[in-house]
């Protein structure tokens, strides 16, 4: 399934091709803002559903992109969906080799999250703390041993992208917890425990490795305050938060840290390229090399020559800005409503089938940040390889599901309290 493949490869690429044993964390982000009045549980569940969709949780945890699909969030269903973390990711048989397995996120008591509190789910997403190894307490510090943060924290196994997810605002993390606890049908499905080192990845998830939370203040040296009259600052800041919490920098440069060199400037070394295609399953088969492009607003080499609408269309529809006219698109059906009859899609690995579930407002915010919140960096990235159809056969509704998502609740979901 291309959507799973893209999500998985997105993670794999960020983990392994960067030469790091674990996920590259995100160092930037904004402090979460609490809503003035708490939303109703029903609202939170719906918001959580959208966040689960747009962050691609199901790409690893089951169901790929559609809540209507069997196996929605029930966890890994076959050994081929395990991750291999460590040197064995590059060289079969190398040690150590930790097999990690996306767990069952449905609210089943014994095999899922049913017995964990919303707070434990929040703590998993914000602090990366394993619910089964962490007390159910409010945590007020990111420093181990302070503010109920365990002295010896035990972290979720890579590639769970919590270093990115932690930069979502509080209300969004609570909404995800609400959806998982109250918006999903419980399914009994045991996933074997993930493996890991005796320190439960503590050495990999230091502040030095994944950056602080909250992230460096805006603007860093890579960023710029939007020019007067160009756009609203709040929109740029929201876009920045989304870019960080969606781990864009893991592939496009800078990891999670807007202060890092190469932040969103695209491939700057061969290690940032990653292969897709038949070679993933069979190393004797050919590879299509993907090269995350320069997202800074540099005119010749980045996004400077494209409109915010083209960036929006890339994120919502997967359409390559360079091969798609700058038009408002009103349909997902080929040839209708300005949707190209023969669409040219972004290279595989770019998880736009998830990103498209962001709200319009959020996608415009991402575009605004890329166009108006970043300093342009000249960095010409060679085009990604792609098949002759520019991946059109991989991005059919059958393979990536529908946009918009099926209405709530599907057979795998439930109304809160229902």
């Amino acid at each position: 399934m291309p959507s799973r493949a893209s999500g998985t490869r997105w993670l794999r690429s960020s983990l392994f091709l960067a030469g790091l044993p674990v996920a590259v964390g995100l160092a930037a982000g904004l402090t979460g803002s609490s809503p003035a009045a708490p939303p109703s549980q029903a609202d939170a569940v719906l918001r959580g559903r959208q966040l689960v969709l747009q962050h691609g949780c199901a790409g690893c945890h089951g169901g790929v992109v559609s809540p209507a699909q069997d196996g929605w969030l029930v966890g890994m269903r076959g050994p081929e969906l395990e991750f291999r973390i460590g040197p064995c990711a590059f060289q079969p048989g190398a040690e150590p080799c930790f097999r990690t397995r996306p767990r069952n996120l449905t609210p089943d008591n014994l095999t899922g999250l049913g017995r964990f509190s919303a707070r434990q789910i929040f703590n998993a997403l914000r602090f990366g703390l394993r619910p089964g190894e962490t007390p159910d307490l409010e945590i007020t510090s990111t420093t181990p041993g302070e503010g109920n943060h365990p002295l010896d924290p035990k972290y979720l196994a890579p590639p769970m992208p919590w270093p990115a997810f932690r930069h979502m605002p509080d209300a969004e993390l609570w909404a995800i917890a609400a959806y998982l606890k109250d918006g999903v049908q419980a399914v009994s499905h045991r996933v074997d425990d993930s493996e890991g080192p005796p320190d439960f990845w503590a050495e990999a998830y230091t502040v030095e490795a994944i950056g602080p939370h909250p992230a460096a203040a805006f603007p860093t040296g890579n960023e710029v305050r939007p020019a007067a009259g160009s756009t609203e600052l709040a929109k740029v800041l929201k876009g920045r938060e989304l870019v960080i919490s969606h781990a864009c920098g893991d592939c496009h440069g800078g990891g999670g840290n807007p202060a890092a060199e190469g932040w969103l400037a695209g491939v700057r070394s061969p290690q940032m390229e990653f292969p897709v295609g038949p070679c993933i399953a069979d190393s004797t088969k050919p590879c299509l090399m993907q090269r995350p492009r320069n997202l800074t607003p540099h005119q010749a080499t980045g996004t400077g020559g494209y409109s915010e609408r083209q960036i929006f269309n890339a994120l919502r529809y997967g359409l390559r800005p360079s091969e798609t006219p700058d038009l408002a698109i009103s349909s997902t059906i080929l040839g209708r409503g300005n949707f190209p009859a023969t669409p040219n899609y972004l290279g595989q690995g770019m998880p736009w089938p998830y990103w498209r579930y962001m709200s319009d407002e959020d996608l415009w915010a991402v575009a605004a940040y890329l166009k108006h919140g970043l300093k342009p960096v000249a960095n010409q990235v060679k085009d990604s390889d792609s098949p002759a159809d520019f991946w059109a056969s991989e991005y059919t509704v059958e393979k990536i599901g529908t946009y918009p998502a099926p209405s709530f609740p599907t057979a795998h979901e439930r109304r809160p309290g229902g």
Binding site: N109, L110, G132, E133, D136, D193, E195, G196, P197
Partner: protein
Amino acid sequence: MWSLLLLVTIADTLVSPPLLENRSREPNTVEVTLTATPTRLSLVPGVETEAYAYNGRVPGPTLSVREGDKVIIHFRNALSEETTVHWHGLHLPFSADGSPFHPVGPGEQLDYVFTIPEGTAGTYWYHPHPHHRTRDQVAKGLYGAIVVRAANDPLPPLPERLLILSDNRFLVNGAVDLPARRTPQGRIDFENGREGDLMFVNGQLMPTVRIRSGEVQRWRVINASAARVYRLAIPGHRILHVGSDGGLFQEPVDTSEILVASSERVELLVRGTGPPGSRSVVQDLPYDRYIQQTRPPDWERPRDLVALQYTAEPPIDPVTLPATLRAVPALDTTRVRETRVMVLTQGFINGKAMDLNRVDETAELGASEIWQIENLVGMDHPFHLHGFRFQVLDRNGVPEPYPSWKDTVNVPKHTSARIIVRFDDYAGKWMFHCHILDHEVHGMMGILEVR
């Protein structure tokens, strides 16, 4: 020369701890003195260890009592730290439970007074239970057996052996190896519970038990290890499993191996089915109770515990064993006042670490309750309840094949168990906890108030 060698090799070397001397002249009364002292002992040959001992020895002397006895234990703490004595598995008043609520300070004395209820004949044990220090005090030598006998024991008189299993680990200088929490080994101990590379039986390494071909012996086995789960087997032998924590079953169970988790006890009938002069070994077979992250690299190695040496004497006719041992009436599940869920995670019960100032559960005196214990993590947790024996109803939904009295139930990784318990006789605050001592001391424990 050969006959001498033969005699040497077949000598029975398993030493049972002496019995605590009863000073009382009253009928049905047992009055003993028990003192915990720091001492230097040779726990491993060739080196002395700074140890703790009850009445000067490790394991401590055995408390032998009968159903109905009034028991008075004059306990003195000669250690330089606080301790208690917990009478593991016995049904007794809160004040006599030896839980962290009743610490005995250095140099202080406390009389533990209780009466052994009828129907509770079985094998129990005693050990310290002070706040945060149980693991270290047990590791340094504070543990001993309790045998409660019934006037109407259904088994015929049989040669009886007591086997207290306890693994331990020492530094080169003989000190008990108790690494700090935040060292690599300390971390592993914290996770797995501390295991030792030396397997002691009654404080001895690989003792020999002599058996005559055809003979049947009654063994009482106590797992006094901090964490290790013993998967007991005697290659070439079937075992008659006749009892558990709270005494005999209704009927013997014929089996090839028995799992004994930390603090559990079993009663076995070992039948001398081997030929005269042959030798076998009681083993602890590999059992994967571990999470992958800290699973010991040699966990798959069987460990020898006791040599079983057949005498050269000709076989004797086996004694006739009763088909039925005693009635173990199942507790009534139709009159359950409350059903509670106990969620076990790694180091926590219901998401909480123990707080002596907090009551986690409140139950009514005399009420029956069902506790559903769910282990959500990839490591076994032996769940122990103080003061009240219980029966296991089912494990992972599979009904228990026969009722038995338990005070500890091992809940394997990612499984559940339901138990039924009746809170008879004694109000008070009772601990429930994981009996992996490292987990217990770090807070995998809760407080039940019965009132």
